[in-house]
């Protein structure tokens, strides 16, 4: 029943969007309604659907609310004559974290429905043609046979035009750019088979290949549609994660009245009011106020940075403790974020265009089969001198070698592999990414947010008296400073404090102050909480002190928490012969401490450009690097590296640049993804081998002129089934056992990885 009812009111503290922001992200539909899309990642069962729809429908002004469980989104239609209802707050009350989603982003499904429609038409046509063909093969008399061939042709024409255009378009694009891909031999084979069959039918000939041509389209479309759906699913899952970039900001007009403006319209010189918990929309300078900023996603700096009037702020950093009045120093297009985007684009151009293994195979394969068919034609012309016969046999060669198996060999394996990664919480951007990941020979990790979780944790929770910790937790619940959150979380399981605080105030850069029972409590920096008389010894190692009237009750220490499975993951990677390295933008000391703990080389205070340069230098030295990072500062390096991974908590830009996104906390996702990618690569090679072996058998039969439509249909179906069956082996068997072993005993992992590398 309560499988999905997290602590009510706990979620969505950061996410609370203003009414203006909701309005900005909504779209007008007819009947005076507006539509908003929310991404609600925690929806995962029927109960959630009812709770979320019930909560939203109960809000005044909501006309209709509908949850999509597959994409974990809610679509809300609300009356435009009133301000937007507080959806996000209402859902937070019900225990669901929700954030606004762009409606425009939904348009991506167009291609999928085109593929499904093409698949349906091809399925209809191929089954009906096959019924007629079976009658012909069973020995129909010539008049019936000709009639059936004509009916087949009538069904085949629209199917060829409607379903075949998926391949023809792609083949034409490749040819017109002077390249070949798998769709070129497919298109040539299908069109020639159809042309020959039409000619034969008109001549009253015995053999027509309509069934072969259309079934080929049907089989290949199955593979293509599954491939697309898998990627779409991964894309939707990644998109459902929180947006981290600011959507707009409250700008003060010259006359002093605040207006909510989209980020794109903010110009340098405008004054912006930035509340605690908001992200800095554009590069800016603080005019008034004091606060602390979380820069971990932007620079990798793990400690909150104090800011005061005059401080320069980078776009994308998070304002933690106090409201600020800031002056924009650059428009969004000139801000830090945009600069990272430009660096990424340049970096992507630097990454030499990767050729998919299927395209590389096609480049070898297409000339070979086309040459074979041509030689067959010449041979039969020389031997028999019969033009019609020579053409028929040459085209039969093309039909038999038409790469049905080859066309399915690669996508089927990648579909099964991405499904397996999906189950492990790893999203793959596309098949090419999986091929690249299988090739990597070294791994570069970012620190903050990647090897560590990027939020501090109380290190000595059990050393404190429960009373003091509960007191600190109760006070800390009033603040969103990372240390306060860590305290609140650590104290969450204890009995609530008996003291009730009044007049809680937050002093940016210092801490929290409150009174209770006539005493003044302070929770914060030691020198501030303890007043002037603080002993200097306390200062160096205590992060936060809880004091009553200037007397210390407890001192708390914090450390950034290392991601689960980190040392196992690093050990597995090293055992597999991959070089591991840490590149961080953080200060030297925490980086060195972590690197020493894990026993890997490191570099600290690396700028975004420095990371990019490191990756480029490695690429120039012939190494294939996997970059794992989360921040804005990692984005250019992620875009440039041979393959890249990012955790779900990464900045939008980093997540979009990465080939893989892992949704779970454990860093074991990295070796797991590499193992699956390598296993997939092995099966792809096997499948390509099987397709070649099939041709070694089929081509001589075809060249000698023994291929009839019946033989072609059987040969194609059997080879496709073998390839698909081989791809499904990835679903179970050896890799699965090795993976399951990893979770329990890390030592099993290296063996699996090494085996993957050897084959």
């Amino acid at each position: 029943m309560s499988c999905c009812a997290p602590g009510a009111g706990f979620a969505a503290v950061d996410q609370a969007a203003t009414a203006d922001e909701v309005l900005l992200a909504s779209r007008e539909i007819d009947d005076g309604l507006r539509q908003s899309d929310l991404s609600v990642p925690q929806i995962h069962c029927g109960n959630c659907i009812r709770t979320v729809e019930g909560t939203l429908s109960a809000l005044p002004g909501v006309a209709h609310a509908r949850v999509n469980l597959s994409t974990r989104r809610a679509t809300i239609r609300w009356r435009a004559d009133a301000p937007p209802p507080p959806f996000i707050e209402a859902l937070a009350q019900a225990g669901y974290e929700a954030h606004l989603d762009d409606i425009a982003a939904m348009a991506g499904d167009e291609q999928q429905s085109e593929l499904v429609r093409a698949l349906a038409v091809a399925g209809f046509a191929s089954s009906n043609i096959m019924i007629l063909s079976v009658s012909v093969w069973a020995g129909a008399e010539p008049a019936t046979r000709d009639l059936f061939h004509w009916i087949s042709a009538l069904i085949a024409v629209p199917a060829l035009v409607y379903s075949g255009r998926v391949f023809f378009r792609s083949a034409w694009r490749a040819v017109s750019h002077g390249r070949t891909n798998m769709d070129v031999p497919i298109s040539i084979g299908v069109l020639l088979a159809f042309g020959l069959s039409l000619y034969e039918t008109a001549q009253g000939g015995a053999h027509a290949y309509f069934d072969a041509a259309i079934s080929l389209l049907f089989f290949l479309l199955i593979g293509r549609t599954l491939d697309h759906m898998m990627r779409e699913r991964a894309r939707a899952a990644v998109k459902g994660l929180a947006r981290l970039a600011a959507r707009g900001a409250l700008v003060l007009d010259p006359d002093g009245s605040p207006t909510y403006m989209p980020v794109g319209e903010i110009a340098a010189g405008m004054t912006i009011l930035l509340a605690a918990g908001e992200r800095v929309p554009v590069d800016a300078r603080v005019q008034d106020g004091a606060s602390e900023l979380d820069c971990s996603l932007v620079s990798g700096e793990s400690r909150p940075q104090p800011v005061a009037a005059g401080s320069e702020l980078q776009a994308g950093t998070l304002n933690l403790t106090g409201p600020l009045r800031i002056v924009a120093t650059a428009a969004a297009k000139d801000s830090f974020l945009a600069e990272m985007m430009r660096m990424m684009e340049a970096a992507e151009e630097g990454r030499s265009a990767y050729r998919r293994i299927a395209d590389r195979a096609a480049r070898l394969y297409a000339p070979v089969i086309h040459l074979t068919a041509f030689l067959t034609f010449l041979g039969w012309m020389a031997v028999a001198g019969d033009l019609h016969r020579a053409v028929t046999i040459a085209i039969a060669v093309l039909i038999v070698t038409c790469p049905c198996a080859l066309g399915l060999a690669v996508p089927m394996v990648q579909i099964v592999a991405s499904r397996r990664l999906f189950e492990k919480g790893i999203m793959v951007k596309d098949g090419a990414a999986m091929e690249r990941l299988a090739e990597i020979d070294s791994v570069i990790f970012d620190k903050t947010g990647t090897l560590t979780l990027g939020n501090p944790r109380l290190v000595d929770a059990d050393r404190h008296a429960p009373g003091a910790l509960a007191l600190a937790a109760a006070l800390a619940a009033h603040s969103r400073h990372p240390y306060s959150r860590a305290l609140a979380m650590a104290g969450g399981t204890l009995a609530p404090a008996t003291v009730s605080f009044t007049d809680v105030t937050e002093r940016p850069g210092c801490g929290l102050e409150a009174s209770a029972g006539g005493a003044l409590y302070r929770l914060g920096r030691p020198e501030w909480a303890l007043g002037q008389g603080a002993a200097t010894a306390d200062r160096s190692d205590a992060g936060v002190v809880l004091a009553k009237d200037g007397a210390s009750l407890a001192a708390f220490r914090f450390d950034d928490r290392v991601r689960a499975g980190t040392s196992e993951a690093i050990a597995a990677l090293e055992a597999a012969g991959l070089g591991v390295e840490i590149l961080s933008g953080d200060r030297d000391e925490p980086v060195r401490r972590l690197a020493a703990l894990l026993g890997v080389p490191h570099a600290a205070r690396v700028s975004p450009g420095g990371k990019l340069a490191q990756v480029e230098a490695a690429a120039a030295a012939g190494r294939k690097v996997l970059m794992v990072g989360d921040g804005l500062n990692d984005a250019p390096a992620l875009a440039r590296a041979h393959a890249s991974m990012a955790p779900a908590s990464a900045a939008d830009v980093g997540r979009n640049a990465a080939d893989f996104v892992f949704l779970r906390e454990s860093l074991l996702a990295v070796p797991q993804a590499i193992a699956v990618a390598r296993a997939a690569q092995r099966l792809v090679r096997q499948n390509l081998g099987l397709a070649v072996a099939y041709n070694v058998v089929a081509v001589p039969v075809a060249v000698l002129g023994y291929v009839t439509p019946l033989v072609a249909a059987i040969a194609m179906s059997v080879s496709s089934l073998i390839v698909v069956g081989n791809a499904l082996r990835l679903g179970g068997g050896a890799t699965d056992d090795a993976m399951a072993g990893t979770a329990r005993a890390p030592a099993a992992k290296p063996v699996e990885l090494a085996a993957g590398g050897a084959l």
């Binding site: 029927g46 949850v67 597959s70 429905s113 429609r117 089954s127 008049a143 009916i151």
Partner: protein, 57 residues
């Protein structure tokens, strides 16, 4: 032979009707949320969204 003139068009028509039905169901969004549909069938009372249709019958 004359049987063909009824049977073949009939077979094709049945197939075409099935294809058209599939296309219609695809367009009307019935495949948009397969996971959700599997859960919704267990609900006792579909709130408002369903009741409109019942009233109009």
């Amino acid at each position: 032979m004359t049987d063909y003139f009824y049977l073949i068009p009939l077979a094709l028509a049945i197939g075409a009707v099935a294809l058209a039905t599939f296309m219609w169901s695809l367009r009307s969004g019935q495949y948009d949320d397969l996971d959700g549909a599997a859960e919704r069938i267990l609900f006792d009372d579909e709130p408002r969204a369903g009741s409109d249709q019942i009233e109009s019958i």
